[in-house]
Symmetry: C2
Subunit: 224 residues, 2 copies
C-alpha cells in the first residue's frame, strides 16, 4: 500500500493560494489544450489558451468552454460575448510555448497573435468569411457560434458553442471518423502549467454487459 495524503474542505482552504491552485487544478485529470480565437468589432484578432473545453454533444455538435470571472482586460471573452463568434484550435508540441504565452496580460490594443508569433487563419472568403480567426499553425480548427453564455455560481462563465465548421489536417483522420490526436502532437495539460504529449495505449470496443472489452492497438483502422 502506498502512503496517502488527504485534505478536507478546511484543509484545502487553509493552503497558500498558489499551492492550492496547483493542487486543485491537478484534480480533474488531464485537460485539453485549445486556443480560443476571436476578433473585436473592428476585426482585430485576439487569442488565449484555455484548458476547459468539454464535449457536450455531437448532434447537434456542441462544445462548452469555462472562462474565469471576466475582468476589464479579458478581451477574448468580451469579443466572444459581444460578437457571438469564436474559434478553437488545438495546441500541439510545436506551438505549446507560444500558446502558453498568450495567457500573459497584454496591454489593450496588443494582439496576442502578434505578441507570441502565431498566425490568424480566416476560414471562408468574401461575405462568407467567418468573423473570428483560428490559428494557422494548428492541425484542428473549429468555428463556433455562442449558443448560451451561462453565469456559474462562482462567477465563472460557461460558454456553449454550436460548431459551424471543422477544418482538420487530413493526415489525422481515420476511416471511422476518429481523429488520431497523438499523430498531431496535440498536448494534454496537467495542473496549471504542465504540458504532455500522449502515447497511444489502446482503442476499446463499445462496452456490453455480456462480453469482454476488445482492445485494438492500431488506431487508424477504426471499428467500422
Amino acid at each position: 500500500m502506498s502512503e496517502r495524503a488527504t485534505w478536507d474542505r478546511e484543509g484545502l482552504a487553509a493552503l497558500p493560494q498558489r499551492h492550492r491552485a496547483r493542487l486543485v487544478n491537478s484534480l480533474s485529470g488531464y485537460k485539453s489544450a485549445n486556443l480560443v480565437g476571436t476578433a473585436d468589432a473592428d476585426g482585430v484578432p485576439a487569442c488565449c489558451i484555455v484548458s476547459s473545453v468539454v464535449h457536450l454533444g455531437s448532434n447537434p455538435a456542441l462544445l462548452g468552454v469555462v472562462f474565469r470571472p471576466p475582468g476589464d482586460d479579458s478581451h477574448n471573452y468580451h469579443n466572444l460575448a459581444s460578437t457571438g463568434y469564436f474559434t478553437l484550435s488545438h495546441v500541439t508540441e510545436a506551438i505549446h510555448e507560444a500558446a502558453h504565452q498568450t495567457s500573459a496580460r497584454y496591454a489593450a490594443g496588443v494582439s496576442e497573435f502578434d505578441a507570441v508569433g502565431l498566425t490568424p487563419h480566416w476560414y471562408g472568403e468574401g461575405e462568407a468569411r467567418f468573423p473570428a480567426p483560428a490559428v494557422a499553425e494548428s492541425p484542428v480548427r473549429i468555428g463556433l457560434t455562442v449558443e448560451e453564455n451561462l453565469l456559474l455560481p462562482n462567477r465563472c462563465r460557461f460558454a456553449i458553442g454550436a460548431i459551424q465548421w471543422v477544418d482538420v489536417d487530413e493526415a489525422l483522420l481515420c476511416t471511422d471518423g476518429f481523429l488520431d490526436l497523438a499523430e498531431a502532437g496535440t498536448i494534454a495539460i496537467g495542473g496549471l502549467d504542465a504540458y504532455h504529449t500522449a502515447d497511444r495505449l489502446a482503442r476499446l470496443s463499445y462496452a456490453k454487459p455480456d462480453r469482454p472489452v476488445e482492445a485494438r492497438t492500431d488506431f487508424r483502422d477504426g471499428w467500422d
Copy 2:
C-alpha cells in the same frame, strides 16, 4: 502545406451517426478519465466512467461534470441527483479496461464495481463516513457534494460539485502542490474510445508580457 479536410454544419449533420460521434468527440482535444462513484439510498455502490470533468475554480474548490441526457437506467446520475453526493477517481493504465467496461448498460441491481472488478473505497469512518464510494485502485480520489445541477439546452446535465475531501497517493505530490499525473499512469481519452498515457514535456513559468517563457523538465521540483 498538409491537405485539409473540412465540414460545415450541414456536412457534419449528414454524416452517419457513429462516424459523426467519433469525429465530434475528437474535437475537444484530450479528455480527462474519471470514474464517478455513487451509492443509492440503501448504500448500494455504483460507478461509471466519464470524460467530461472540468475544473471550475480552486477557492472554493469546484469541479463540473457533464452527463448525457439521463434515462431510466442512468443510475449513477440519479444517485448523485437524489443523494447530493458523489466521488471522482482517476483512471490509470492499470484499470483502464475495467473503467471502460463500466459504460456497459448493466441490469438494475447490478453494481458496476462487482461487474468489472473494481473495489469501493469508503472515505471516513462511522458517522463521518462519506456516503458515496470512491475507487480503491485509483491514485487520486475526490469527494464532492452537488452544488448545482444545471439543465443544458441539449438536455445534458452539468453537475457542479464542491470538493469536500481529496485523497491522493503521496508519491504524486510535488513540493509546490502540483500532482505528477504521469507518475500515476493517469489516462487521457481521445474521441469515444481511445486511451493514452502521457509523456512529460515541460512545466512553463507564469506568463508575463515582458519576458520569455521559462521551461522546466524536472516536474517534481516546482516553482516555489
